[in-house]
């Protein structure tokens, strides 16, 4: 097991290097006149040139990349060109915001999906039809439309939750709940739709197996058969889907953070990418890649914990 983890981490480092080079190349090609964008239309050409030199934008591509890489290896991701804030400080203050809504969305999606998926698979009939309908809604309506509808109804009209902004848990647990509830709901619906269908299908498949019939003939209640046996076997594929969804939600949070003005990684990414703030975009890319590597490893370990066959392979 330890060898497995070490091999996966080593592969992760190579992946991070490759991702950093590709991302830097794309940013370099698409950058345009960053110094002009930074200073705006009032600045003279001389000041713009001075700023470009200050930021190292007059250096060749590989010189700029290796400047960044040598700093990143030492843990110095540089400073934002557009806010002067250290990138590491920015990321460390914003990552908890994004993770709180993404993890919240994944947890909510996991709980709701299990409930709906199991209900649909075991009860069938009109319950199954309703769950299918909910899944279609979750697939087809973009999450930003759902977010806007939630804001209008629950924040503006009813005043139950915040329309904009983020309150840290340490400042006020109640304020934190008020600020993350609507974003979490908006972000989770598409995932609920996907994972519900996955669980429904896996449970139906598992329920048709011989071991289930054997357990039922031994007098075990349907609840225990499903919760203690069927879900364990059906859970593997659903976990894999949830892992993919988690990575996807990190990107999907961008739109939600814009709508709710949440100071997370997503909002930072939009601003930085639009402006060409290369140090910040590179920091976001690397942190996302690191999270993806860790999450994939964690899911593999969880799969092994659930299913002994995976451990042997």
């Amino acid at each position: 097991m330890l060898v497995f983890i070490i091999k996966r981490l080593a592969a992760g480092v190579i992946l991070l290097l490759a991702v950093s080079l590709v991302a830097f190349t794309l940013l370099y090609i698409g950058g345009g006149d960053i110094a002009r964008r930074l200073l705006g239309e009032n600045a003279t050409a001389e000041v713009v040139a001075q700023k470009a030199q200050e930021l190292g934008l007059d250096k060749p591509f590989f010189a700029q990349y290796f400047d960044w890489l040598s700093g990143a290896i030492r843990g110095d991701l540089g400073n934002s060109w557009f806010t002067s804030q250290a990138v590491a400080v920015d990321l460390s203050s914003r990552l908890p915001v994004t993770l709180s809504i993404v993890v919240g969305a994944v947890v909510l999606a996991a709980i709701v999906s299990v409930v709906l998926g199991v209900l649909a698979a075991t009860r069938g009939g009109w319950i199954d039809a309703v769950v299918q309908f909910i899944s279609v809604i979750g697939f087809s309506i973009p999450n930003f439309l759902i977010a806007l509808a939630l804001v209008i109804v629950f924040a503006i009209n009813l005043g139950w939750f915040n329309a904009t902004g983020y309150v840290t848990f340490a400042t006020s647990p109640a304020g934190w709940v008020a600020s993350v509830t609507l974003p979490i709901i908006a972000l989770s619906l598409a995932t609920i739709a996907t994972v519900t269908q996955q669980i429904r299908g896996s449970v139906i498949d598992a329920m048709s197996r011989d071991y289930v019939r054997t357990l039922q003939t031994r007098g075990l209640s349907p609840r225990i058969v499903v919760l203690q046996h069927v879900l364990r076997n059906a859970g593997g594929p659903a976990l894999a889907v949830l892992a993919v969804q988690f990575i996807g939600l990190l990107g999907g949070a961008i739109v939600i953070e814009q709508i709710f003005a949440l100071p997370g990684i997503g909002q930072l990414t939009v601003q930085a990418t639009t402006l060409g703030d290369i140090p910040v975009v590179m920091g976001v890319v690397m942190i996302t890649a690191i999270i993806a590597v860790i999450v994939n490893l964690a899911i593999d370990l969880a799969q092994a914990a659930l299913n002994p066959k995976v451990r042997l392979s």
Binding site: Q85, A163, T164
Partner: protein, 512 residues
């Protein structure tokens, strides 16, 4: 047996109870016993690139700096310049020396005092730095400090804009001790003498800036709140939601598309004017596009635009149609000049024929998705009506830099209408930023010299003549001055500045 349904119901009820305790997002400022509001929450559309006074910008970024720094002079809502850190000022006979007398009762938040040496350091840093407005101090040669409260700015040439520059970013003064100890730290931890102090623990750079009242401030008359919060919300929909849910007291509206909704939410729209929109006809010598070298072609383009219709389509009538370069508050402005180019496609075609272009010509201009497609579609349509084919090239994020690199003979843009001299240096002079082809004209050069060297009456007369001349020569095809809309809630009042996009921090007050 574990009752799942009961547990789920309990979680939901608990969450709703917690949100009830959260108290929503009300931002009502309530006055304390001293008449101060508790908290003012305002919304901006962008965050400052750095909080260091030496690299400061202005416009929409001004409140971030004004909160923590003072300027040497003060721009007021009625358009005058008043003392601030400098209690008096005077020019010498030929306007090449500006002497400022500083207040002697000002301390910075780190306890250090304001002296002439501190002002000198700040001015020199600004001039040598990379502020977008660093060129405002281009005529500043040296700064002398004969005593602790006297600063003499020695200019290489008269600069009619200098006093107004000192009311904004070039005039921001940071602590000398902080500059000496940690100049880079000022970017995120500014140390000034201003009405508020940045709370770096509560501030999230790029998103929310929290300031607390400076209890040692020398000018408590302009402090109206205990706490100031500036939230950055670039998305117009999110900003509108902040208004409707009462999560702010003041919001600068990015456009005029939702004024009715804002008023329906019980807010007040405070209207000002600061920008003007239209076409820059840059290639007046015909270098890139020979047609634009003909004054009759440029005049024809002016006649092609139905300014009233454009104002309705693009700004929902929030604004004023306009043809001239200098704003109404300028002595150069003449309302009668706004009838120089009435909408007249037939007249435009006649002028094109007289100029040798009876069948029109192709005019290449930049476009950008960031302002949508309507503006460029309308330009295409209105120019097509007189025979000119507008070809738009997507410049994306390089829209402004491509224009300034003289890649296009003409371009659509919105620009700030500032003071008279600033306008000439920004758009008209051969070295102006928005004169990328460096077009020169003897008449213009002569009038610029009169503006620079003459007394106030001579400056005003030269500006008026310049305004009329460049309108007659059709250097631009201005459309309108859009309304600059600033929304305030029922508990807040504000006065707009004629010289800036964003109201001054000092001009926000609780409505009691």
């Amino acid at each position: 047996m574990f009752r799942w349904k009961l547990a789920a119901a309990g979680v939901v009820v608990g969450a709703l109870a917690l949100t009830g305790c959260a108290g929503g997002g009300s931002s009502e400022p309530t006055a304390d016993a001293g008449g101060l509001g508790e908290k003012l929450t305002i919304v901006g559309t962008l965050s400052p690139t750095s909080l260091d006074a030496a690299t400061a910008g202005w416009g929409n970024a001004s409140p971030f700096y004004q909160a923590v720094y003072d300027t040497l002079l003060l721009a007021t809502p009625d358009g005058t310049i008043e003392p601030f850190l400098a209690s008096e000022w005077s020019y010498n006979e030929d306007n090449t020396e500006l002497t400022l007398t500083l207040r002697d009762d000002v301390t910075f938040s780190d306890g250090s005092a304001l002296t002439s040496e501190v002002v000198k350091t700040n001015l020199e840093r600004f001039k040598a730095g990379t502020s977008p407005d660093a060129s405002f101090l281009r005529n500043l040669d040296t700064v002398e400090t004969p005593d602790e409260t006297t600063v003499v700015l020695k200019l290489s040439a008269p600069d009619p804009g200098m006093l107004s520059y000192l009311t904004r970013d070039p005039g921001l003064i940071a602590s000398g001790e902080a500059i000496a100890a940690d100049p880079e730290g000022l970017a995120t931890d500014p140390i000034g003498s201003g009405p508020y102090i940045l709370d770096t623990d509560k501030t999230v750079t790029g998103t929310s800036y929290v300031y607390s009242k400076n209890d040692e401030y020398w000018n408590p008359d302009v402090q109206h709140y205990e706490e100031l919060v500036i939230n950055v919300i670039p998305d117009p929909t999110a900003a509108l939601n902040a208004i409707k849910s009462g999560e702010a007291n003041g919001v600068r509206l990015a456009n005029n598309q939702n004024l009715a909704e804002v008023e329906a939410a019980g807010w007040t729209i405070n209207a000002g004017e600061i920008n003007q929109f239209g076409l820059l006809l840059l290639d007046r010598a015909g270098t890139l596009n020979p047609a634009l070298g003909e004054v009759k072609v440029r005049q024809a383009i002016n006649h092609a635009f139905d300014r009233e219709a454009l104002l309705t389509a693009l700004q929902k009538d929030a604004g004023v149609v306009n043809e001239q370069t200098f704003p109404p508050r300028s002595a150069a402005f003449d309302e009668a000049l706004n009838d120089t180019y009435p909408y007249d496609p037939e007249k435009a075609k006649e002028l094109l024929a007289e100029a040798g272009y009876p069948d029109g010509f192709v005019l290449e201009m930049p476009s950008t998705a960031s302002v949508g497609t309507t503006t460029f579609n309308l330009i295409t349509q209105q120019l097509a009506d007189i025979g000119i084919t507008a070809q738009f090239v997507d410049a994306g994020n390089n829209y402004v830099s491509d224009i300034l690199a003289a890649k296009y003979a003409a371009a659509w843009i919105g620009l700030e209408q500032t003071g008279d001299w600033q306008i000439t240096q920004f758009m008209i002079a051969p070295t102006a930023t928005f004169n990328p082809f460096h077009y020169e004209d003897d008449t213009v050069n002569g009038l610029l010299e009169e503006m620079q060297l003459g007394d106030q009456d001579a400056q005003d007369a030269a500006a008026a003549e310049l305004n009329e001349y460049i309108l007659d020569q059709a250097w631009f095809a201005w459309w309108y001055r859009p309304q600059n809309s600033y929304a305030t809630d029922a508990n807040t009042q504000v006065e707009m500045l004629p010289t800036n996009n964003y109201p001054a921090i000092y001009d926000f007050q609780p409505k009691n």
